[in-house]
Amino acid sequence: MDEDILDYTLKYAEKSKIEYGEVRGQSQTVERILLRNGKLEAYAVAEDSGFCIRIMADGGIGFASTNKWSRDEAKKIVDLALQYAKAAKRKEKLIFAKEKATKTKWAVDQKDKIENIPSEEKVEALAEVDKALASCNVKIAATMSSCSIDLITKYFVNSEGSQISSFVPRIGAYFFITVMEQGKTEQASEQFGYSGGWEALKQWNIKAKMVENAKVLKDVITKAQTVRPGKMDLVCGSEVTGIAAHESCGHPMEADRILGREMSQAGRSFVFKDGPFWTGTRIGSATVTIVDDPTIEHSYGYYPFDDEGVKARRRFLYKGGVINEFLHNRESAAKLGTRSNGSSRSMNYDREAIVRMANTFVLPGELSEEELIEDVKNGIYMKSFTEWNIDDKRFNQRYVGKEAYLIENGELKGPVARPVIETTTQKFWTSVDAVSNEVKFDAATCGKGDPSQGAPVYTGGPCLRLRGVFVK
């Protein structure tokens, strides 16, 4: 990456009357591997590299990017961004919350360097999963699998004196299977993600996970009973806990959403100024504490400094069941009279940094998973989920079980097919009376922004026990 051009871009911007300027360069080596039914369909490799300028002038913001690395191009995008900032003609002038300048370099270590892994080995790692599926005594109608590898180098400078260089190797994998038994199909997908080297593959244990998925789907077709709809207890596995934490805590706590900046796309929040919910309002039971933490090393959403150069930290979003803290970038923090908590992320040089989650999860309690289940007379254990969604104020959500079992008198009975919980955020989190003592994480790609910026995140938590919720 040509850091001289990036420094030049900032200096050129500073010649004009601006309130703030920042330049972000990003170069990434990209690999995409796509298999269908265990056979390689296509292998893609590319170098993607470019830079952007964000300028605040006259209380407006302009942003421009290019992938041509030249001083002439740098001037062009600065002039354009400046013109755009001034054209905003805002009545309420934008400002950023104050942050101290940071000069640092950081990088994520790799035990097994991805650059040293031959392409054949990468393909084989995916193909092996299909071989395992072929011998697991389940009729597999189709599989799709993919692997994404990004080696991301960034350089950030701003007009306040920050200068940050970083390197993150990031690996993701995705599997989708269709099982066909007795003429019926069921489908499941799994996503894996890691910041680090090829050692990720050993940790993921993909073969075992996908074989387990296949067997679960076979059981759903051949053995599962349907749920008799009604009020009952529900034990959520960590995967369900994680998606609920992400959708009905992480997203509504995004301050840009609360302030309306995403209103026409990802929507707003049930939390808003002078509304029924704000910081200090109870939203869940006292057993519920949900955090978002970018500082978990090697997590899919890992970063120690965000894309505005602000140091990252753990954020307590719901604390003891009470709304505690929003996710902020510098713009939203200034609007709400606080400081950024390092939640500003951008997925490439041609995208503005916006408020994002990193790794959102419920903190553990003291009981074991077995103890949670032992105390349920009549209920469902929803270990994992398939279809899900939530409304754009993040209040009405639905999770459909993938692997799920009936609980009778504290014991797991047979599988149940596609149990559904459709409820409000408040009802979900206030119904939690206990959480288990072991946190597990799942990788996910969080969608937000226009144009869309899929952000790598972890979702997770322990098992939750919800009392008296409606399951159908």
């Binding site: 269908r36 292998y43 590319a46 755009y84 995403e262 026409s264 041609d350 279809e387 969604n389 409820t423």
Partner: protein, 441 residues
């Protein structure tokens, strides 16, 4: 401009000289502009200048793909790519790129869009239009997006061509109250046809009607879908007629060619026509694009193909090639017999839905899914809006919903919105019976 085509052809010649069997190179010089606004004010204006050559190279049925951003990098990249191909495996799907020398229609891309450097006035115009409906307490947000692409394509198998692709899109969501909103879009490929105030007015009208919503009741309803939400529903079926979706079990149309999948009144086609935001004169293999009727009076006629999938299905490409898998460009539903007002009168009692988001599946092959209507949701009786509702979810089946269409309007709108109504479509008002809606408990 032909210099860019020469350079693109140069990549193809070089790859052949290095030993590639087949190669396609597509260079895109793109200018994208976007104005984002919320709370009736502009938050940020964004410009992307993008220079990219997409390359797909085949060697002994191994398919490898890359992008370059500098022509000076091409030789080294091609050598690496070929090395990767040789270390790779045969693709079971790849059956060659399109062969032939084609004649293309003349691109009708609008250079005025390319030269539109500061479109913020359009945003203020549309906010004003919404304000006329709602009044001074309006809260609105959205985007204005422009695209201009110069595309240069060269293939070792014959096709060579240049294309210009232009689009302008405006999307506004206007709130009259905290929980009363309307969404309007205005999409075009030409500046002279672009009237963002129409989107503002529509968003404002819906937001005004949506005031004081109450939580709706679960049940099976007759439903009229606005063109915007129907654009989202259409995109479900369009993704499922890609031959690749059939091959990966991600479709309700598996083994349905020649079979009735919808009522007689339903005709759906893919057509990246000049008016469309997805206008293009050739696909990613250089095959001329065309109209493809995939559901003709209720009967499934074809899947959408590139050359490789067409060979697998023993047919011909439909001009829908992406570099790896075929996809739909722009979906059109043929107009029906009803005027919009007649359609509303036709529905004795039911719902009028205007927009949706967050569509997710349990099973693509079965078609079970749910999606969450947003913005105006209305109870309608005898053609009259009786009540504004909220907090309902469509929990239904993609195949059943297609079968349950009972009325289609003559009026159609070209719609596209974010990732929810994508690809773009020419979408009517549609009446559907027995749509299942659920709510939180």
């Amino acid at each position: 401009m032909s210099e860019m085509l020469d350079k693109t052809e140069g990549i193809v010649k070089k790859a052949k000289s290095l030993g590639a069997d087949e190669i396609i190179a597509k260079t895109t010089i793109a200018k994208y502009r976007q104005v984002r606004f919320s709370n009736n004010q502009i938050d940020i204006t964004v410009a992307w200048n993008d220079y990219v050559t997409d390359i797909a190279l085949a060697w002994k049925k191994r398919l490898v793909v890359t992008q370059i951003h500098e022509f000076t990098e091409a030789d080294e990249t091609l050598k690496q790519l070929l090395k990767l191909a040789k270390a790779s495996e045969e693709s079971p799907t790849f059956n060659g790129f399109a062969k032939g020398n084609f004649r293309y229609a003349k691109s009708k891309a609008d250079r005025e869009i390319e030269n539109l450097e500061n479109p913020t006035e359009y945003v203020f115009e549309a906010i004003e239009a919404a304000k006329k409906e709602i009044g001074p307490k309006i809260d609105s947000g959205g985007i204005l997006f422009t695209k201009f692409e110069d595309v240069y394509l060269a293939s070792s198998e014959g096709p060579t061509g240049t294309d210009g692709r232009s689009a302008i899109e405006f999307s506004i969501r206007a709130f009259s109250e905290r929980e009363a909103s309307g969404h309007g879009v205005e999409c075009s490929s030409r500046l002279k046809d672009f009237k963002p105030s129409r989107a503002g007015t529509k968003a404002g009208e819906i937001a005004k009607l949506a005031r004081n919503p109450t939580i709706g009741e679960e049940g099976a309803y007759d439903v009229i879908f606005d063109p915007l939400i129907f654009g989202s529903i259409i995109s479900i079926w369009a993704s499922m007629v890609s031959a690749y979706s059939i091959m990966t079990q991600m479709s309700v149309f598996i083994d349905k060619i020649g079979k009735k999948v919808a009522p007689e009144i339903v005709t759906l086609k893919d057509n990246p026509a000049p008016y469309s935001m997805s206008n293009r004169i050739f696909d990613d293999e250089g095959v001329p694009t065309r109209k493809n009727i995939f559901i003709d009076h209720g009967t499934l006629k074809t899947y959408l193909h590139n050359t490789s999938t067409a060979k697998i299905f023993k047919t011909e490409t439909t001009g829908n090639a992406g570099l790896i898998a075929p996809g739909s460009w722009n979906v059109e539903m043929e107009p029906g017999d009803f005027h919009k007002e007649e359609l509303f009168k036709e529905m004795k009692k039911g719902l009028y839905l205007t927009n949706t988001w967050y569509t997710r599946y349990q099973n693509y092959a079965k078609g079970d899914f749910s999606t969450i209507p947003r913005d105006g949701i209305f109870l309608v009786e005898k053609g009259e809006i009786k009540k504004s509702l909220k907090d309902l979810r469509i929990s239904d089946n993609a195949r059943t919903m297609l079968e349950n269409i009972t009325g289609i309007s003559k009026e159609r709108q070209h719609v596209h919105w974010w990732g929810e109504a994508d690809p773009p479509s020419l979408s009517p008002y549609v009446l559907m019976k027995d749509v299942h809606l659920t709510k939180s408990k």
